[in-house]
């Protein structure tokens, strides 16, 4: 990520952008958009088994989630966090390996798509059950404190749908009780699969819940990159400085189906006219060009570089071997002596 910052910074001109990491963040957004479009085309071409879930429209928020994390921090990304995962250090190759079924991916064919982790930079592998990652992040933070580590935070994300599970309630509450440095970024993309907000919750604003849990609450327009960087960066800073848990609620529209199998025809046309429904990637790019923070030639070059990275990650993963059932050890626990009845396992 530093590499990108330098590259971005070199081309900064005229007036400085509104946040010192603005251009670096945009590069992650652009990478994610180009990369996920590639994943979608692979899916449509029948080259990906299982689902593809993209974060179209959420690139600004998600990038901000990954960008401010440091070594020793804990990150619990969710469904639409490709941008944040990349900004926090997961290589594209691990994503293509996971989606394309290479045995060399971090999940080794045992889980797929977004259900992947990247332990090298503290990224947890989500289970599907929404809300259950929050308490796991809290537990990691508790343990770090018990071990005497300092200066760490945990950040995890949740959708406005996932926010209505009991696990989210328990997880949010226990974070406060344990006084851990947690940042919870709730992304209200107005549809949980096909369900609009009026069938998910009935409070005026989700951020109103923050004081009820002992959190500091912040709202942000998720289509505005500078605001996302300010609010999420600020929340990370406050948590790191010993503040209470932070809830940042970002508003935007999910600009894809729930997964690529879903045409999202249930999203009414009117909603797409709302200011918070705009697409953050072209909007940010337009602003960058208008303000002259980067010129068109540089952006073109970025696109070319990203496309090359994406192609390379796809080609590499496609060349790699798939997992082989006969070579699996089919063992769900790490303690060999505790394995039950191998003779019953279909042998």
């Amino acid at each position: 990520m530093l590499q990108t910052a330098t590259r971005a910074g070199a081309k900064t001109s005229k007036k400085d952008p509104p946040h010192e990491r603005y251009l670096e963040a945009f590069r992650w957004m652009l990478q994610t958009r180009i990369f996920e479009e590639k994943l979608t085309s692979l899916y449509r071409g029948g080259l990906i088994t299982g689902g593809v879930y993209v974060g179209r429209g959420q690139e600004a928020v998600s990038t901000a989630c990954g960008l401010f994390l440091q070594k020793g921090d804990v990150f619990g990304p969710l469904i639409r966090d490709q941008a944040g995962r990349a900004a926090a250090g997961e290589p594209l190759l691990n994503v293509t390996r996971t989606y394309l079924g290479s045995r060399q991916g971090s999940m080794r064919g045992r889980d797929g798509n977004i259900h992947r982790g990247w332990p090298e930079t503290g990224q947890l592998a989500m289970i599907s059950h929404l809300g259950s990652l929050i308490s796991v992040v809290v537990g990691k933070l508790m343990a770090k404190r018990m071990k005497g580590e300092k200066n760490f935070i945990g950040l995890t994300t949740i959708g406005e749908g996932g926010m209505q599970t009991g696990a989210t309630h328990e997880g949010m509450n226990i974070a406060s009780v344990e006084k851990v440095p947690l940042v919870l970024v709730a992304v209200n993309n107005h549809f949980a699969y096909s369900t609009p907000n009026d069938r998910q919750f009935a409070c005026a604003q989700l951020v109103d819940r923050a004081p009820g849990y002992g959190y500091e609450g912040h709202e942000v327009d998720g289509t505005k990159l500078a605001d996302c960087l300010d609010e999420i960066g600020g929340a990370v800073e406050r948590a790191r400085a010993g503040g209470p848990p932070q809830l940042v609620v970002a508003s935007l529209l999910r600009l894809a189906g729930h997964g690529e199998h879903d045409d999202a025809s249930y999203v009414p046309a009117e909603i797409k006219k709302e200011s918070w429904a705009q697409d953050c990637v072209p909007a940010t790019e337009k602003l960058i060009l208008e303000k002259g923070w980067l010129d068109a030639a540089t952006l073109k070059q970025w696109r070319a570089e990203i496309s090359a990275e994406v192609e390379k990650a796809v080609e590499t993963a496609q060349r790699e071997a798939a997992p082989v059932a006969s070579e699996e050890d089919w063992c769900a626990i790490s303690t060999r002596g505790m394995v039950d009845a191998p003779v019953l396992a279909g042998e």
Binding site: V136, K144, E170, T335
Partner: protein, 322 residues
């Protein structure tokens, strides 16, 4: 000096806190002077400040935090106030802890203590035995100590295992069982124990039902019938070898479990003996479990709901007559 089953659990936790700085206890009402609904942690919070922590009534999050802490190298022991309430944590235990190693290659060494089983007057929601549910899912070790000695050593061993362990402690045994002292030796988790050798019938059981089976074996012995009693000790892994060896000696099998009858440990044992040791059987294998209703409150109903020495003896007589 004598030690109860409950004291053995407390002493095991004291030992673990003393010997292993990675261990901490996490549960409802377990800290302070109170020391837990059953006093399994009494005195430990004072002795080990900061390591015996009260939690909100949030079973899901209690286990979720334990999973996170275990990933960071800690060895949390989570106390459920009653096994029954672990239903709220099923998702974290089964889907998160139970899948973690297989998915990520990162072990998940958590221990979840479940005060299990029926006692008079406890009713449908404070009496359950949940070993079958936890054993059904991959990725967990499930233990059911039946003696003071096992209560002590198996809890210490559970924490040493790098995988999630469901430790089912029986509430009826808390005060009823006493030993002279804490044990010096241990039988490892995964090994069943022949608690009484016999020749005519094998009763394979676990947890509190071991003691009902022993009572039946004693009664039958007076009339010259020798029943072998096998205490499984752990439901997962299940020591099929010891069970088969016992059936090879006796030719007859009765499995006894306190939990509900559909599926479960007794059905599993019979399935294994029928598939792997059919030739050893001189009579059809049988099993006896609780009734297929919620666990009733009133003692008159409760004693009839679960297996007891009388119903076990009746079943044993039928098998022996075959």
């Amino acid at each position: 000096m004598s030690v109860t089953y409950l004291e053995a659990i407390r002493e095991a936790q004291a030992h673990l806190l003393r010997e292993d700085e990675r261990v901490y206890l996490y549960g409802q009402d377990i800290a302070g002077k109170f020391g837990g609904a059953f006093k399994a942690t009494k005195g430990l919070a004072e002795k080990f400040p900061g390591r015996v922590l009260n939690t909100p009534i949030s079973e899901d999050a209690m286990v979720g935090t334990a999973i996170g802490a275990a990933m960071e190298g800690m060895r949390p022991i989570v106390e459920m106030q009653f096994a029954d309430f672990s239903s709220i944590a099923l998702n974290q235990i089964l889907n998160n802890a139970g899948t973690q190693f297989f998915r990520t290659n990162i072990p998940c060494p958590i221990t979840v203590r479940l005060p299990s089983g029926g006692t008079k007057g406890s009713g449908p929601f404070h009496s359950q035995s949940m070993e079958a549910i936890y054993s059904h899912y991959p990725g967990l070790v499930v233990v059911t100590p039946a003696t003071v000695e096992d209560a002590y050593t198996m809890l210490i061993d559970a924490v040493a295992i790098d995988d999630p362990v469901i430790y089912c402690e029986h509430k009826y045994l808390y005060y009823h069982l006493k030993a002279d002292a804490l044990p010096k030796d241990r039988l490892p988790i995964g090994k069943a124990r022949i608690v009484r050798p016999g020749r005519d019938l094998s009763i394979v059981t676990y947890s509190a039902m071991v003691h009902e089976a022993l009572a039946v074996a004693k009664e039958f012995s007076a009339s010259g019938v020798e029943i072998e009693v096998v205490d499984l000790r752990s439901i997962k892994p299940l020591d099929t070898e010891t069970v088969l060896a016992s059936v090879a000696r006796t030719g007859r099998l009765l499995c006894v479990g306190e939990s509900f009858p559909w599926g479960g440990a007794t059905a599993e044992v019979i399935a294994r003996v029928a598939t792997e040791g059919f030739h050893l059987l001189d009579a059809a294998p049988a099993r006896i479990n609780a009734r297929d209703t919620p666990i009733p409150y009133h003692p008159n109903l409760w004693v009839d709901h679960r297996p007891n020495a009388k119903s076990i003896a009746a079943k044993a007589r039928r098998i022996l007559a075959e």
